[in-house]
């Protein structure tokens, strides 16, 4: 089932299109990473999906239903944390969750305790949110998103402000939500390695338009700008040699390690080239990380 489906979704602020002609597809059970530079339109897209912003063009469906057909009730099956985790600071965490639970169609006290346990805030649930650190508020933000056992969870920068242990816990939680509770997760993040570690699928958005979307593994495997790390006996000489070859897209030298950008099917030719030129090859390792992919993709787009 398609959990999120946008059809030519767009938003214009004055003369500027924040999001234009966006066609996004997220299927049930996916952990879908939503990537893009600052101002690319990620938050605007998420806000449109959550009715916080009215689209200028296009439509969208959530959990297989359009907003027109399903009405507001569809949001009882959606949980979200949008940007900063802002709460009613003058109320306790427990009171905040009780209120949000009631407005989500009713959540019993046991479930509230359960989500507080998940984010390790049960002991401090009776404190005013005003006294919470940013990390604690972030965790409470995740708790409120999970409160009503949603089928779709939209998380915008969920690990922002957390300590390394907290980041690790949240990433494990996201994976567990998808695997054990069959929730679909839309995860917007700047942290490329986070998307790479956690997400099964992803989309990259730039200047309000969709650049690419698909399974993370497929996108990295099929890319034309695969990075291969090469270790040889004379890296500087090898680097100079490789630079003159036009079948190699790009080459760089970092601490005796040569990074070669070339399609995956050209890798045997690279090995042959190095051997033919009498280099002792210690290793040839395909190393296309999402970071390489993302940065190269955007660099290519921006010329």
């Amino acid at each position: 089932m398609m959990v999120i489906q946008t059809n030519s979704l767009g938003k214009r602020f004055g003369d500027r299109w924040a999001v234009k002609d966006l066609n996004l597809s997220v299927e049930k059970g996916q952990i879908f990473g939503f990537l893009g530079p600052n101002g690319a339109g990620k938050s605007t897209t998420i806000r449109m999906l959550l009715r916080l912003i009215r689209p200028s063009t296009g439509t969208f469906m959530l959990l297989g239903k359009s907003l027109r057909d399903a009405g507001q009730h569809i949001y009882s099956r959606v949980g979200a944390l949008v940007e900063k985790p802002d709460f009613y600071l003058y109320m306790t965490a427990l009171k905040n969750l009780k209120m949000l639970g009631a407005l989500s169609g009713g959540v019993d006290d046991r479930r509230i305790e359960e989500v507080l346990d998940i984010v390790h805030l049960r002991d401090r649930a009776d404190e005013n949110v005003r006294n919470y650190s940013h990390g604690m508020r972030q965790r409470l933000g995740i708790a409120q998103a999970l409160l009503h056992r949603p089928e779709l969870v939209i998380l915008d920068e969920p690990t922002s402000g957390l300590d390394p242990e907290g980041i690790h816990e949240i990433r494990e939680l996201i994976v567990a939500l998808a695997r054990e509770h069959e929730m679909t997760i839309l995860l917007s993040s700047h942290l490329l390695h986070e998307i790479e570690q956690v997400c099964t699928h992803m989309a990259i958005i730039d200047n309000g338009t969709l650049v690419v979307q698909g399974a993370v593994d497929d996108l990295l495997r099929k890319t034309d700008f695969y990075v291969t790390e090469v270790s040889v006996d004379n890296p500087e000489r090898a680097y100079n040699h490789l630079q003159t070859e036009d079948w190699i897209k790009d080459v760089s030298l970092e601490k005796d390690l040569i990074k070669v950008h070339l399609p995956a099917d050209k890798r045997p030719a690279l090995a042959e080239f190095l051997v033919r030129n009498h280099f002792k090859v210690f290793s040839i390792i395909p190393r296309t990380s999402l970071e390489d992919y993302y940065l190269t993709l955007l660099k290519t787009r921006h010329g």
């Binding site: 959550l50 507001q72 009882s76 949008v82 940007e83 009613y88 009171k95």
Partner: protein, 281 residues
């Protein structure tokens, strides 16, 4: 409907979890008994003015001043001063959420914007009702305790003397009408609050409109008669109408209807604005 009631309940909880809500209640609790005590201790200048205006035509035995008379005069705060306590809450109820970013957790629930606006509006009404009647109870209660009870003597196209029991009923009607008057102020600041994400703007905006409208309503320039019917402050004196004899029910109904119409218009415009508003904060 159930969701709307829940939303209303939590809006009331939010209002009474904020310290600014209690400014009005605390001020009334402290100030009104002090005024009553000072009146009891040092007299009330209005007594002398009234006696002077009566001249030699009436002989009064005892004193004109009692808790009801002071409460009656205290109702004048409803024009400009008391609305401050109203706008402190109503001006912030929408804008405060925008400024704090809490609309992001509220509006992503299965609740419509109509329900959010209506719940907040009803909570504003509830607060307005409470604080107006709180003033009434403290004013009349402390007046009777400190200054004493008795008949109320008011000057309305002559002298009107109302018995204590009748006075209480007329105060009840007067405070009900005062709620309507204060709801106009509340709904105006609610409108401003819906259009902005700054809690101070609606308070200043409402006061600017209120003061200008009040000045235009009371200033004695004939040329202003053209615009007076369109100023809501022109109808604010409705809460004094129950102290006339006979009670001008027609006038009360007409003025109340105009004020309620203002409330409905301000609420509708608030709803229209907020339903189209992009939550970007």
């Amino acid at each position: 409907m159930v969701l709307l009631l829940k939303a209303w309940f939590y809006e009331v909880v939010k209002i009474f979890n904020r310290w600014r809500t209690y400014i009005g209640f605390v001020t009334i609790t402290i100030l009104v008994p002090i005024i009553m005590y000072l009146t009891h201790r040092f007299g009330f200048d209005v007594q002398d003015q009234a006696l002077r205006s009566l001249g030699d035509s009436v002989v009064l035995v005892g004193t004109l001043v009692n808790g009801f008379l002071v409460s009656y005069y205290l109702m004048n705060v409803m024009w400009v001063h008391f609305p401050f306590f109203i706008v402190l809450v109503s001006g912030d109820i929408m804008a405060g959420e925008g400024a704090a970013g809490t609309f992001r957790i509220l509006l992503t629930r299965p609740i419509s914007r109509f329900q959010v606006v209506t719940a907040k509006f009803l909570a504003t009404f509830f607060y307005t009702f409470l604080i107006v009647f709180f003033l009434g109870v403290i004013s009349i209660g402390s007046g009777m305790l400190i200054v004493g009870g008795g008949d109320l003597l008011v000057f309305d196209k002559g002298i009107l003397i109302l018995s204590q029991n009748e006075t209480l009923l007329r105060f009840l009607l007067a405070y009900c009408l005062a709620v309507v008057v204060q709801m106009v102020v509340a709904s105006l600041s609610f409108l401003f609050s819906s259009a902005t994400s700054n809690g101070i703007g609606p308070i200043i905006g409402t006061y600017a409109v209120l003061v200008v409208s009040y000045i235009l309503s009371v200033i004695q320039i004939d040329a202003l008669d053209v615009i007076r019917p369109y100023l809501f402050t022109t109808y604010f004196d409705v809460f004094f109408a129950p102290f006339a004899s006979p009670i001008p029910w027609g006038e009360i109904a007409r003025k109340s209807a105009v004020l309620v119409a203002y409330v409905v218009v301000f609420y509708s415009v608030s709803l229209w604005i907020f339903s189209r508003k992009d939550i970007t904060s």
